[in-house]
Symmetry: C3
Subunit: 273 residues, 3 copies
């Protein structure tokens, strides 16, 4: 798996593909900069008058509903349909699905109306997308991540795609494979946008022609290792300000050596029965 991630990274940097984002206003700058940091090229146009044309210049589309609104969700549909038509992959980040009914509805609708290559969310977002509502503690004795995995499988059963569930352990899952990645640090939850950035990185790998499952695995590995190295580098009185700066630094300077040294895949890729 390490070799695959390393060659994905080399491929991305060779191609430096254009990644079209329609994203939220909170982390839009971070999404653009992390796309540049890994070696791809971002464009963030979101007006319905130009997204169709812009998609045609790009090699992948990232849709992020962090600050979902009536204007940009229409642009997402237009851009998404065009992306499907011309055959470029779409990454969906269903930020906050489950928090409000508007958000859940749109996350589901984007998934239904478009062919999505990768959904990247946390456990509760993935659960919300599959229609699971309310308190997951009552579901059964399964842990949250087990519940999220079965929700991911439902989504994949409904419409084939890769689902990346990020958390203490990241899980990447598609129709036949399942992978657990152990890189990352709690501090990543203390900075806004690390989830969004993981989605942008996934879009960057997809845009390079890396297949969706490996693209998600590569993205989560890169940002996870970068997070660990960023945290390790902190000195006295340094906190999330410096951590955030270093996160960009370590994604930018990520290389084969760091991936070989630090990548931790808990289980190997496995064919499901």
């Amino acid at each position: 798996m390490k070799d695959k991630v390393i060659s994905s990274l080399h491929k991305l940097r060779d191609i430096s593909p254009l990644v079209h984002h329609i994203t939220n206003s909170v982390t839009i700058n971070d999404c653009a900069n992390i796309t540049l940091a890994i070696g791809a090229s971002p464009v963030m146009a979101d007006d319905e008058n130009e997204v169709k044309e812009m998609v045609n210049l790009a090699k992948a589309l990232v849709l992020n509903i962090g600050t979902l609104n009536a204007r940009t969700v229409e642009s997402m549909l237009i851009a998404g349909k065009e992306a499907n038509k011309i055959g470029i992959p779409i990454v969906l980040d269903p930020v906050g699905a489950g928090a409000t009914s508007y958000r859940t509805m749109w996350a589901q609708r984007l998934f239904e109306e478009l062919n999505i290559s990768v959904i990247r969310g946390n456990a509760s977002e993935i659960m919300a997308m599959s229609g699971l509502t309310g308190n997951t503690k009552g579901v059964d004795s399964s842990s949250e991540s087990d519940v999220a995995i079965s929700c991911a499988k439902e989504l994949i059963g409904f419409k084939p795609c890769t689902v990346a569930i990020t958390g203490a352990v990241d899980i990447v899952i598609d129709e036949v494979r399942e992978l657990r990645l152990k890189n990352g640090t709690k501090m990543m939850k203390q900075v806004t946008g690390t989830g969004c950035m993981a989605s942008s990185l996934t879009g960057s790998f997809c845009a390079s022609g890396v297949e969706p499952f490996l693209a998600a695995a590569s993205a989560l590995t890169v940002i996870g290792i970068a997070g660990e190295l960023a945290e390790c580098s902190l000195k006295n009185n340094e906190g999330i300000g410096t951590f955030r700066t270093r996160l960009f630094d370590y994604v930018h300077t990520m290389d084969a050596n760091k991936i070989n040294l630090y990548m931790e895949a808990l289980e190997n890729e496995k064919i499901r029965a």
Copy 2:
């Protein structure tokens, strides 16, 4: 006062409350990250289709008119009314009130139509909100901050709330109390968003169940001390780039020790006649 601020901070970090922001597009990322830095949790949804539901998940609402527009101001009214209905505190940041009539009108209207717990602004914004227009130099021989204080008292007389006037000396004032806080540094004016961040921190303390007057005092103390420490840490050729990063660091690593060492309250809390 130091003990009260310290226990507010501990309370905030124990609870880690959700703080709903409807804010401007310039500093929205900073507002989210400073909320995380202090130990609370931000959500920045601003579409009228979901703000009512989102407010119900939050423990405080921050309304910031920095890039006021027809779309989000409607969301502010909807969210604000819901916040009042369910009884969570609202912090209003009347950014730029006084600069244009549209801005002044909306700052006043939000104050009139909603029950606001804390208004956090600079002297000219507070003056504009109370209806004082034009050149304050002509008012009388009072200094600008004295004029702002009497404007704050007018606002409080009209509708009870806490007003936090930030400047070289920060003044926190409510129906019976007045407090002057001397922390902070001029460099904070050379970075965009330090005012917005002070409002987000105030919202974070309010969301933790800290009463509004103490919430404002705690927020201004924390960001003021963080600003001083950030400036002190600068080396040769470091300017507002590094200062801004360190501001987040020092809010993130703020603790009882730093508050005890550096908090400077010019006057004690006092009961007004």
Copy 3:
């Protein structure tokens, strides 16, 4: 030329003018902070209900179409016409002109309907504005920058203004003068917003009463030197995160000494035949 840039910088810092931006959602925070870093004061209001009044408080207007949309482009027209009426300079950043027809159309229309003092873009944006479409490699044996220069001359012929073409070598051109500036580093292309920031700095110099040609030259010199120094300061494992922070630092701490030491003008200002 060095002396002129140095005195422009001193002038800017003496006056600290207000610079009104209507800009994109990706780099709006960077535009505000770079304006503060150089010593001016930013305001980013973009609602049609207040831009006319806000322009009257400002000394220059920066229009940036990075995330062009139906709402803010109307505000740009209103603000631009008011700026022309009261006689303050406008800087236009035609971000992505040429990428979509909507973007190209608006870049051209803003130039036609308004009197623009400085257009600041890269070679392909300047070419798109002059109506040159398609693959520039087929045009003739000229290099891209030569083509861009002749496009800039066309624009200037159509309507007198200064055009700043940024790239490996920056070219500033007006009706009679042409200047090549060699400061800067490739790393500036790996961070989003360095072009936008160059436009904001140009607006800041214009707002100080520096004439447009010198304002553009001063802005490109300052950000170019800052970029070089930022890159030189990077240590092991530091990348675009730290680079970006230091870029703000070095703009903030820019001084006569650094300009004297590092400014590189490839050719002198020259009167064209």
